[in-house]
Amino acid sequence: MSRFMKELRVIPMPAWIVGWFIYACFTLPLFFFAVPTDPDMSKWPRWGQALFVFGIFLFAVALVALIGYVYGDAKRRKMRAVMWTLLAIFIPYAIGIILYFILRDPLPKPCPACGNVVKSNFPFCPHCGTSLQPTCPNCGKPADPNWSNCPHCGQRMPATVQRTA
C-alpha cells in the first residue's frame, strides 16, 4: 500500500460523510433551482453550469477531508486533536491546516521495553521509565551522541552516551 493510501485511511469516515453531505446540499439545489433562474448563469450551456457547480464544490469535500485528516493525525501524534480541528475549521482558506502541518509533532514511537506508544521527544518512557534517547548525565535533558558538551548546562559529555534500551 502506498504512503498516500495509508494516509487517506487516517481520515475518519464521518469526515467523508460530512464532506459529501455538504457537497450534495450545495450542488443539487444550486444546479436545479438557483442556476436556471440566475440572470447571468442561465445563459450558460447546461454542461458549463454543471461543470461550474459540481466542480467548484469539490474543494469543499477536499477541505472537509483535510480537516478530518488533521483530527485523525493529531490524535495519532498525541496532540490536542479537538483544538487543532477547531483551528482548521475556523481559520479561513485552509490556513489553520497549513499551521498544523508546520507545527505538528513527530510521530510517536513504541517503547522498546514495554511497547507503549510514547511521544518521540520524550527522553524516558512515562510507563516503564526506560531511557529512550541519550541524555545529559548532569541535567538529564536529551542529548545528541555527537555532542561533546551539553548545550543546556555545559557538562562535558562522556565519550559514549548510549541508550540503555
Binding site: 447571468d40 467548484i56 479561513p92 490556513i95 491546516i97 502541518f101 510521530l107
Partner: protein, 157 residues
C-alpha cells in the same frame, strides 16, 4: 607525462586486478619492453598477496545490528521529511486554489454573480481582496501565537 610514467601509475591497480581490459592490454604490451616496470609489478603483486593473507576483521553482530538500525532510522527520517515537504506544497497550493475558488462562489451565493463582469467589479474585487488579506493576517497572528505556545510547552517537557 611519458607512456612509461602512465603505465607505472597503473601497476598497483594491475596487481590488485582492478584494471579495465584496455588498460590490461596496454600494461602487458609495455611490460614486454620494460624490465623495470615488470620488476615493479612483481613487487606490487607480492605486497597484494601479503595483504590477502592478512585476516579480514569481522564486525561484531551487535555493531552490525546497531549500524543497520541507525541506517533504517535515517532512511525513515528522510522519507518522512520528503513526504512532509510534498504535503506542504500540496496544502499551500490547495489554500491558494481555495481562495481563488471561493471568489466566484462568494459572489454567486450572495446573488451578485454578474458583478464579476460588470462595472461594479472593481469595488467587489477590493472587498474580496480585503477579506482575503484579513484572513491571511489572522492566520499569521495565529501561527506566531501557536509557535510561541508550542515552544513554551517543549521547554517545559
Amino acid at each position: 607525462m611519458s607512456e612509461h610514467d602512465k603505465i607505472r601509475e597503473l601497476l598497483a591497480l594491475a596487481a590488485a586486478g582492478a584494471l579495465t581490459r584496455t588498460e590490461e592490454e596496454q600494461v602487458a604490451e609495455h611490460l614486454r619492453r620494460c624490465a623495470d616496470c615488470a620488476n615493479e609489478l612483481d613487487a606490487w603483486r607480492s605486497i597484494a598477496m601479503d595483504i590477502c593473507r592478512l585476516p579480514t576483521p569481522q564486525p561484531s553482530t551487535q555493531l552490525v545490528r546497531i549500524t543497520l538500525a541507525k541506517a533504517e532510522e535515517k532512511l525513515a527520517a528522510q522519507a518522512e521529511h520528503d513526504w512532509n515537504r510534498r504535503v506542504m506544497i500540496f496544502v499551500v497550493a490547495f489554500a491558494w486554489l481555495l481562495t481563488a475558488a471561493s471568489w466566484p462562489v462568494f459572489h454567486f451565493v450572495s446573488g451578485d454573480f454578474g458583478s464579476l463582469l460588470g462595472p461594479q467589479f472593481g469595488r467587489a474585487w477590493i472587498n474580496f481582496a480585503a477579506f482575503t488579506a484579513l484572513a491571511w493576517v489572522a492566520g499569521g497572528v495565529a501561527a506566531v501565537m501557536l509557535a510561541l505556545h508550542q515552544r513554551r510547552e517543549r521547554r517545559l517537557a
